[in-house]
Assembly symmetry: C2
Homo-oligomer: 253 residues x 2
């Protein structure tokens, strides 16, 4: 299989490593020249290539960029032509806007691997990042391409899970986006308190749960901000639900 | 050293295991007869004894009960007499009310080990629970007893850390109590969403951060509720601080 990767960050580079370990030819592109060089040097991609070359030659093409860039890229697919054996998938954390952007493109299948962590970039990539993890996909009109995407996911060791794009966004707003928002806010609050009381005593009084939230809070806000924006309505509802569950202890008076 | 443990849950039983490993004689009491039997059977205490016997014979006495029970027990210390070589300490997560309750008792030193986890009870006890963890104490009028408590803490491998009771409560409200509140609320929200959308898809879309929050949410609410109550004012302020850090995305409209 010839695999093309657009965006060689954590997810893209991990797909590259996993595919190359299975004998695929992998070419990759990143608009950040340094990230692309790193992916090449670390073996995540076997060859650097332009987007045009990737779309012209690869069978399976992963768009693994931040959400806002993904939406642009998916919208641009309409201008391209695809062979019957080709399919393109994205890996963004929000699915309804991506599905809408690619609605006119038969070759496109929206997907989302539930993998990652607080470290981003190709240096954090791992060949086994997707093993035993859920990787969902949104079934599209083109049944053959949908099945090809599903087979690609399962070949990397992940559990393929079919979801409706709108359900996905509503659910991950609570299971993923709200926890990340809270971790960022918690980290800012701890920094504030440390400035007031001294970092040493505040750090000493951080238990394991606080350490975990601070670890999550070290994630790239550059990656998360477009996700929060793209899923703002669902996140708002999930925050309301969390607030109701907090009961009397409202986060706002 | 003769060590007495009142309350043989996770913390009390772990103190027992750690002290016995260091050659101490350990006697213990729990008003839950089953917890006391388990602590004896598991070797966390060498002997079961009444509270009166413990206060009469032990050199170091740990009050390791839920916060509300701890306050009662500390208040009752005024009616007892202590030898110069004896000291009593508690391990509750809130310090100002405990310090106040024990203000008239020279033998008493408030402390708080930053250890524990979502599992409670003597079955979760570990001899090394305190190794390399912060264990803070509130310096009291009786300098000799304060130093004895500090030495006891360090002997179990923990980092002894002197704190003001009010500062402690203000800081742990953010570093410990608010994260636990959020984990409980998150767990309830996920249960609610699972009832609406189906547990299988919701669980499939839980990433590592959600799994971590759900793990923390399995903590004993019976243990946490008295903590939330005893530190309500500081928790309220910490929630306000977190809300300010959330910025536009208020948890309440």
């Amino acid at each position: 299989v010839r695999v093309g990767i657009i965006g060689t960050g954590l997810i893209g580079a991990s797909i590259g490593l996993a595919c190359r370990a299975r004998g695929d030819t992998v070419m990759g592109f990143d608009r950040d020249a340094e990230a692309q060089r790193f992916a090449l040097a670390s073996g995540a991609i076997g060859e650097a290539a332009s987007r045009d070359t990737i779309y012209a030659t690869c069978d399976a093409i992963a768009i693994a960029t931040p959400v806002d860039v993904t939406l642009e890229e998916v919208r641009s697919l309409e201008k391209r032509t695809f062979r019957p054996g080709q399919f393109v998938f994205d890996v963004a954390s929000v699915k309804a806007p991506v599905e809408e952007a690619g609605a006119g493109v038969d070759a496109f299948v929206p997907t989302h691997p539930m993998a990652g962590g607080e470290r981003s970039g190709p240096a954090a990539a791992r060949e086994d990042l997707f093993v035993q993890r859920t990787w969902c996909y949104v079934p599209m009109r083109d049944e053959r391409r949908t099945q090809a995407a599903r087979a690609f996911i399962e070949r990397l060791g992940a559990h393929a899970c079919s979801v409706d794009a709108r359900d996905h966004d509503r659910i991950v707003a609570l299971t993923s986006h709200v926890p990340q928002l809270l971790a960022f806010a918690f980290t800012r609050s701890i920094e504030e308190l440390s400035a007031e009381d001294g970092a040493r005593v505040v750090r000493a009084l951080c238990g394991p749960v606080a350490e975990e939230l601070l670890r999550i809070g070290r994630s790239s806000s550059q990656m998360w901000e477009p996700i929060f924006e793209a899923n703002a309505v669902c996140i708002e509802s999930a925050l309301r639900r969390l607030e109701r569950a907090l009961g009397d202890r409202r986060l706002s008076g």
